[in-house]
Amino acid sequence: MAKVLMKGNEAIGEAAIRAGCLNYFAYPITPQSEVAEYLVRRMKEVGGVFLQGESEVAVSYMIFGAAAAGARVFTTSSSPGISLMSEGISYISGAQCPAVFVNIMRGGPGLGGILPSQADYFQATKGMGHGDFRLLVMAPASVQEAVTMVMNAFPLAEKYTNPVMILGDGLIGQMMEPVEFPDDLKTEPTNKDAWATNGMDTRGSDKRNLVKSLFLDPEALNQHNLALKAKYDQMRKEEVRFDTYNTDSDYQVLIVSYGTMSRVCRTAIDNMKKMGLEVGMVRPQTLFPFPEEQVMAAAEKEGCKVVASIEMSMGQMIEDIQRSVQGKKPVHWYGKCGGDVPTPEEVTEFIQTIL
């Protein structure tokens, strides 16, 4: 298919449809309401389901019900809305249903602001809700990558019967960039007869299916949690994705950055190169699983003096970097968290201060 110029939010909606997800439930919130405004029309065209729920709490359970019934389904929201889905996402994870959640992050905490932010890193990667569960979290750095990640999110969610989250900052949703969509539509969802409550007749079986997260017997609940843990360990083995920039140079500083922020860093790295300062970057594409070994390896590299976590948050990803680097190199933080994306100039300035 030819390149089209598309707004991130609309591209995300289209990507879901291309991935065979014809079911969308959501509640409006800036800066991602365009997803719904795009899909309300497109779903009608493709005969899909569009519903504006009464709240994010309700939407998270509409997603749960639909996913548990075997449908491929997703929603989009932004920071405060995602917080309201905390309990629901915990339930979906506990009940092991596949679903995709897109968080186009805005400034927080509380009402905060509506401009780009990356302040929901901790929430997405660690404390999304109560109990022991993880989301597979992918962070796009361009509209095209958002499309690719959304399309990959559904098969991954189904592979692990676990929710997947796309974590994008506001710019990813609001920017227009050229995107290409694969022509082939993946409209056939994977077979979910083994567990989905899609009706015994549908399965032609007289064994009923049950979707639940309650395990009153402590040993059963412990086994259940071990089974979930096994899935997350498998993700750590199989799903780590990352990108590097200028890491073949003899960099003195290693930047770890993701999303739009990483693109600013790329420009900063180019500028510093011109100034004769070599800086490398590891860009996690999956935030969970986090590219621990890759960051460690890049940090250990001969000549690398310091590591910098550059985030549009007040020091969240830095904790995963610290765990990864294990004290081999000092790890510094730079960030802003109000909506102004730090400029390449500001990044350059910061890098010089830590050398």
Partner: protein, 247 residues
């Protein structure tokens, strides 16, 4: 003149965890009988609440989902929107539906979601040990209203059937009881009617059932029935409150 009586197919053999004399068991049986008679077991999905009926899925022989507290109507919406051909019902207590789940039930009813809700009004939170529910009667003592429900402080009991009937979207809304054999016969009729409307894709349907919680009321099952008749029935009148025709 005599009658035979055996367990419906939609009901499993499992002995319930319900307390002796708890009418949840009666309601389970009625739902199962209706599903058998309509022959829809193979395409029915039930949604268990969080409440004493959280384990309801153990007592039925068709697909089931377990909701979070109060969110069953949102889950049912999710299922019906992606699979309108499935027959979906939520089974909810009064804390679940009328307290934490008020937003979800009102919006599902107002959107006219084509599922059925079995609403068990036992005027208390059973599962968690007898706290006050929105449906708790004036002056009724519960573990969080030990001096009796003070309506000046926390308001009057919510009449769910009446409240939902105040919405503009066509629906089938009825209230019955499961206190006496005659109620039980009528209750089954309205439950069946509710499922029929769903089968026809007509409208949202809800049946409120005045029920008992002997354990947390601190009464014997027989006393509990009497208390419900004397105290609850006058405040919660039985009848059909709304039909898609009437609206």
């Amino acid at each position: 003149m005599g009658k035979t009586f055996t367990k419906p197919e939609a009901l499993s053999d499992q002995i319930t965890h319900y307390c002796p004399g708890c009418t949840h068991g009666v309601i389970h049986r009625l739902v199962a009988e209706v599903i058998d008679e309509l022959g829809i077991r193979g395409r029915t999905v039930g949604i268990a609440p969080v409440g004493c009926a959280v384990l309801a899925y153990n007592y039925f022989t068709f697909d089931f989902q377990e909701a979070a507290h109060g969110r069953a109507p949102a889950m049912a919406t999710g299922i019906k929107r992606v699979r309108p051909d499935l027959m979906v019902f939520t089974y909810q207590g009064d804390g679940d539906l009328a307290s934490i789940g008020m937003g979800e039930i009102i919006h599902a009813a107002n959107r006219g979601e084509k599922f059925t809700t079995i609403f068990v009004n036992n005027a208390i939170y059973g599962m968690t040990g007898g706290q006050m529910a929105p449906t708790t009667m004036p002056d009724q003592r519960t573990s969080t209203s030990p001096f009796g429900r003070d309506v000046d402080d926390v308001g009057m009991p919510i009449k769910v059937a009446e409240l939902l009937s105040a919405l503009q979207t066509p629906a089938y809304i009825a209230r019955q009881a499961v206190l006496k054999p005659k109620h039980i016969v009528r209750a089954k009729k309205v439950i069946k009617q509710a499922f029929k409307y769903q089968m026809e894709g007509r409208c949202f349907s809800l049946v409120e059932l005045v029920s008992t919680c002997p354990t947390n009321w601190g009464l014997t099952p027989v006393e509990a029935i009497k208390w419900a008749e004397d105290t609850m029935l006058p405040y919660y009148p039985l009848g059909v409150y709304k039909t898609p025709e009437s609206s």
